[in-house]
């Protein structure tokens, strides 16, 4: 059911499955929480991501072998129950326009969609957080509807403004801070998702659900959006 491997002198990685799937992500979120509760004193960090969880632990108090045993025992005890109702839903307002969506026009012409059709497809569904990384608070969201999937740019841009909403294949994400990146930019959120705002520490977690909501230019500005 799971496979534990060495990841470093004070780290192991648990493989929960081979294929990316929503049920697996929810399961990993549950097991991650469970391990925090049962072995919290030994654990320094847990990083869940798609099909795995990396755990770093305090090697001053527990050896590799002993820690692996404790993790196996804890996981054997954990009984996963599928969440009946998802309470953790994050809504992100997005101004979809070529003024801020650097790749929007190209995407619309390649996919032969009107702006409204595109917005409908991108914002009418719920996404799941599969991983957080790349940069702080950067949440990988999936799964993007096939009708609006585009591969990454061949040459990444050096500077993508904070708040930019991008698409790369079946994934979508918001760039919380200005950074380089190769995703297709289709809009921008006016809200600060960076960790400069301490509240954002708990905004996204792996397993959370996310929805985008289309807003007007006026609303974008009113919410503090900048060009």
């Amino acid at each position: 059911m799971f496979d534990i491997k060495l990841a470093g002198e004070n780290a192991i990685i648990i493989y929960f499955g081979d294929d990316v799937a929503p049920e697996l992500v929810e399961k990993i979120a549950f097991y991650t929480e469970f391990l925090h509760e049962s072995l919290g004193d030994l654990i320094i960090d847990i990083v869940p991501s798609y099909t795995t969880a990396l755990i770093t632990y305090d090697l001053n108090v527990v050896s590799h072998q002993a820690f692996c045993n404790q993790v196996s025992e804890a996981l054997a005890k954990a009984i996963y129950v599928k969440q009946q109702h998802q309470s953790d839903m994050v809504e992100i307002p997005v101004y979809y326009d070529s003024e801020v969506g650097l790749d929007l026009d190209r995407l619309l012409s390649e996919k032969q969609l009107s702006l409204d059709e595109f917005i409908g497809i991108h914002s009418n569904q719920t996404y799941l957080v599969y991983a957080i990384g790349f940069s702080p608070a950067f949440a990988f969201l999936a799964e993007v509807d096939e009708r609006i999937q585009l591969p990454r740019l061949t040459t990444p841009r050096i500077q993508i403004p904070a708040g930019s909403v991008g698409i790369a294949d079946n994934q979508t994400a918001v760039y919380p801070i200005e950074s380089s990146g190769g995703w297709n930019i289709v809009g921008r959120t006016p809200i600060d998702l960076s960790l400069n705002n301490k509240k954002n520490l708990n905004r996204f977690k792996v397993g959370h659900q996310v929805k985008f909501k289309a807003i007007s230019r006026q609303k974008f500005l009113a919410l503090g959006g900048r060009f």
Binding site: E9, N10, D45, V47, S49, L54, L59, N60, F134, L195
Partner: protein, 301 residues
């Protein structure tokens, strides 16, 4: 109560042990590149083991002391002087208000550490004073910055590291590698290529990763579903060359990893210039943990 920055140097930051418990938000560990030199600096001053220090890379740095206090300089020999007079490393020194502290250029190693009594009291970000430029957490030290310190107490003047402990960073470097992550997925032949050659440290190396140049490993395993990266993981890129992921590295990544370098060897690596040779050899987990535990016990008492 501070040091004023007259010249920040090529690349100087405040660092401490690092940032923990927040990796699931994408915040990397950060912290000092050379844990050995860092631990000695705080140990000599009797500081807390996680006190913040200044990490000075390559030199070109001038500070003015606005306080009387005790300091320790460890790590690289960057030609450190007080008021133009050369000073010993790896021992406690006194500075007086108005003294000029200068680091010129690398003589042995590349990263010097300046520890002050009780540690620098600069701004904390997520429970750590470490700057991580990739994440835009904190920043490079700038001219005219005031690096805050605490009021000084009588110092442990003269406390020094035994001579036979002093590292020579010009010695050839062999990195001990734990067979972790996708090690098994690399063939015998591919592993032999890794262990059988001397790589050169590439110019594009920084606090995020050390890029090695050498004979490429062919037909490496394909990129994978992104997974958590631990400190010292050795990615083999599509081009077949290793990148050793360091303190400022992203928390997840999708290249296959052939192993993880033992942390105290990463401390030595932090003192080697681009162009120097490195080799790999295997270490087992029991030995690595034993060595690291001994190191921790020494400094945490």
């Amino acid at each position: 109560m501070s040091f004023r920055v007259i010249k920040p140097g090529f690349f100087s930051t405040i660092q401490d042990r690092g940032r923990f418990g927040l990796a699931h938000h994408g915040l990397s560990q950060s912290g000092v590149a050379d844990e050995h030199a860092y631990c000695w600096a705080n140990y000599l001053l009797g500081n807390d083991a996680d006190a913040a220090v200044m990490e000075i890379t390559f030199g070109g740095c001038v500070l003015s002391a606005l306080i009387d206090t005790g300091i320790a300089i460890t790590g690289a020999d960057l030609g450190f002087k007080i008021n133009g007079k050369p000073q010993d490393h790896w021992q406690v020194l006194s500075v007086k208000q108005g003294d000029l502290l200068t680091w010129s250029a690398p003589k042995n190693g590349v990263r010097a550490y300046l520890a002050v009594q009780d540690g620098f009291q600069t701004k904390q970000y997520f429970n750590s004073r470490s700057a991580n430029l990739r994440e835009k957490v904190g920043s490079l030290i700038q001219v005219n910055d005031e690096l805050l310190t605490r009021p000084s107490k009588p110092s442990d003047k003269g406390k020094t590291m035994p001579a036979w402990f002093k590292p020579d960073y010009t010695e050839a470097l062999t990195l001990r590698l734990l067979p972790s992550y996708q090690y098994e997925q690399f063939s015998q032949q591919q592993r032999q290529l890794l262990f059988g050659q001397a790589y050169k440290i590439g110019k594009a190396s920084d606090r995020t990763g050390c890029r090695l140049e050498g004979n490429a490993i062919k037909n490496t395993p394909a990129t994978m579903i992104s997974e958590g990266i631990s400190y010292g993981s050795v990615e083999i890129t599509t081009a077949g060359l290793p990148i050793i992921l360091l303190k400022d590295a992203p928390t997840i990544g999708g290249y296959p990893k052939i192993g993880t370098v033992f942390s105290l060897d990463l401390a030595k690596l932090a003192q080697h210039q681009p162009g120097s040779d490195v080799r790999f050899e295997l270490i087992d987990i029991e030995t690595a943990q034993q060595l690291r535990r001994e190191f921790n016990y020494f400094f945490e008492k």
